[in-house]
């Protein structure tokens, strides 16, 4: 019997010819990631375990991105714990403010995350790297600690769900974010609990890497262990276009024809509109055409979901020649320094500032209610981020509406949630 891409990667990393869902495997780990919020706990556990060195100074990656640049004294102390650990352990891939970016945008840019890898991160959106054809999943700090010590982690092999996107997108503003919000709306926030979500079909083949990253990024919002898609020429082109070459060999896997799935969903591009997820769950979706009369106070374009270059580019095209509506604060956060630089060179930053938006250094910042755009009670924000839970971006009485960059940019111009095709020609 055949295996899925997820099963093949886990088999190859655990010394098995084949694995089946439900099997517990002890897997080798290619990259173990932590950030300024989660690494400090992992570092305490590392010491508790009596460990004195990490398993591989190249394979542990630490990025201060959540509350960095440090938002307050306590955060500065947390960041310092991680910085000192990185220094003492001679971690090669520690990225300081000024050279860092939002982790899940930064690592692929550095070719640290490769097709066929097993990647764990003490951050739930670690599932992002599934866009490269890697098995990639979020864990907690204790798991990160154990992996930093041993280079291994146990997994229960997940069942796989297959999502086939047929046809083409309805208009050019439909993005990877709309596809994943549409799926989460269909299956719910625990619809893929403990399972692998495998994305395939012509619309995935057509999608840009930035759209694929956004899609895989939110698999966790359906409860999934990982989101994954097979690597192709776009994956290779993405990797080859980076300044740094992969420092390791890698393998491109794809699912066998006769692989077994828990379930198979088929969607058609004609049925997928631009999506908006209403408070307070990512599954609370509706087409933007049905999102009427929602006035907003803030727009955030950024995060590990939608802070990549093409996300900013789509927003910029919509904003060009327009102004952010009076009473609306628009915050644009390029996900990495490299994206920031490109946006500057290609004139995007100028458009944003001309329109009345603010452009921030890379940080997770407002996405998790950290800093750089916290909401007051009663305020509403359209955000290209990934969660709209109660209190996620600030006061528990504030509201976050999740959308792709096109809806966010159009809404910034009008001050109400707006279909971008109503603002510019689709």
């Amino acid at each position: 019997m055949g295996m899925t891409i997820t099963e093949k990667i886990l088999a190859a990393h655990s010394g098995h010819e084949t694995v089946v869902p439900g099997q517990i495997v002890d897997s080798d780990v290619d990259i173990a990631l932590g950030n300024d919020i989660t690494a400090p706990i992992a570092i305490s556990r590392f010491a508790e375990a009596g460990a004195d060195k990490v398993f591989d100074t190249k394979k542990v990656v630490l990025v201060p991105d959540h509350f960095a640049p440090n938002k307050d004294i306590a955060s500065a102390n947390q960041a310092k714990v991680m910085r000192n650990f990185a220094k003492n352990q001679k971690i090669e891939n520690y990225f300081e403010v000024g050279r860092m970016g939002i982790e899940h945008a930064l690592l692929p840019e550095r070719n640290l995350t490769l097709p066929g890898d097993v990647i764990i991160g003490a951050d739930s959106h670690t599932c992002t790297y599934g866009a490269l054809g890697a098995f990639s999943t979020g864990v907690g700090s204790t798991d990160l600690a154990a992996t930093m010590i041993t280079g291994k982690i146990w997994f229960r092999v997940p069942e796989s769900m297959k999502f086939i996107f047929r046809g083409v997108k309805k208009n050019r503003f439909i993005s990877g974010k709309d596809l994943i919000l549409y799926v989460i709306g269909k299956i719910g926030v625990s619809g893929a609990l403990y399972r692998a979500m495998e994305f395939t079909g012509p619309m995935i083949d057509d999608a840009s890497m930035d759209d694929r990253f956004a899609l895989a990024n939110m698999a966790v919002e359906a409860g999934a262990k990982n989101g994954i898609m097979k690597p192709d020429w776009k994956t290779e082109e993405f990797m080859n276009s980076q300044e740094i070459s992969p420092g390791r060999d890698f393998t491109q896997y794809e699912s066998d024809e006769d692989a077994l799935y828990h379930s198979v969903y088929e969607f058609d591009g004609d049925d997928i509109d631009l999506q908006v997820a209403y408070p307070h769950l990512p599954s609370n979706t509706r087409p933007v055409s049905e999102a009427t009369d929602v006035t907003i106070d803030q727009v955030v374009i950024g995060s590990c979901t939608n802070g990549r270059f093409h996300d900013l580019k789509v927003a910029e095209e919509i904003l060009r020649g327009n102004k952010v509506a009076p009473g609306v604060r628009m915050i644009v956060i390029p996900a990495t320094q490299k994206i920031y630089m490109r946006a500057m060179k290609e004139g995007l930053i100028e458009t944003f500032i001309d329109a009345g938006a603010v452009v921030s250094t890379p940080t997770c910042g407002p996405c998790l209610g950290g800093h750089m755009g916290i909401l007051a009670a009663g305020e509403r924000c359209v955000a290209t981020t990934n969660r709209n839970f109660i209190g996620r971006m600030g006061d528990p009485k504030s509201e976050v509406y999740l959308a792709g960059p096109a809806v966010a940019a159009a809404s910034a111009i009008t001050g109400v949630i707006t279909d971008p095709t109503q603002v510019v020609t689709a």
């Binding site: 989660t38 798991d143 041993t150 625990s190 109660i390």
Partner: protein
């Protein structure tokens, strides 16, 4: 191990942002985190939860962020156990790894009202609602995870693992 305590009932999809909002994640001190436990689900909770009390959640308890601060805050607040129909994946793993007992038992969670007294038998796998006089069978802990628990959690297990290395 048997645990007994008064229950506090919550709804479905309680995410880790509700359990411990990110605005408090600039520390890893368990007591400081416990002071804000469940704050965005019930702002008065930290002030009224008592030692040994049991949280009863709905479906998908602990969804969202991977922050281990969530089970740490719950445990440090004195909560002895969380009972829910099922848990979000990372929370489930984190709870085992850091030693917060969690039990999957849908009917016990569905039937419970805040204030009911539960007795939870982790080893035998049942939950008794002493207030309502009902006994429920809970889901079995997978054998591999039971081994982890028996070893004293993932860190103790890892300590053992590295001590065996040459």
């Amino acid at each position: 191990m048997k645990l007994s305590g008064k229950t506090w009932k919550f709804g479905a999809d309680v995410d880790t942002d509700q359990i411990i909002p990110a605005r408090y994640l600039n520390t890893i001190d368990p007591a400081a985190l416990a002071a804000h436990v469940m704050e965005d689900a019930d702002p008065t909770f930290a002030g009224k939860v008592g030692e040994g009390d049991i949280i009863v959640g709905g479906d998908n308890f602990g969804c969202g962020s991977s922050r281990e601060h969530a089970p740490i805050a719950i445990k440090a607040a004195g909560v002895s156990c969380v009972v829910a129909p099922f848990f979000a994946r990372i929370f489930y793993r984190n709870a085992f790894n850091m030693g917060l007992p969690i039990v999957e038992c849908k009917s016990a969670a569905d039937d419970a009202n805040t204030g009911d007294v539960f007795e939870v038998d982790l080893a035998e796998g049942f939950v008794i609602n002493k207030t309502q006089g009902k006994t429920y069978e809970s889901a079995q802990v997978p054998p591999f995870m039971q081994n982890l628990l028996d070893a004293g959690g993932l860190i103790a297990y890892t300590r053992e693992r590295i001590s065996k290395q040459p």
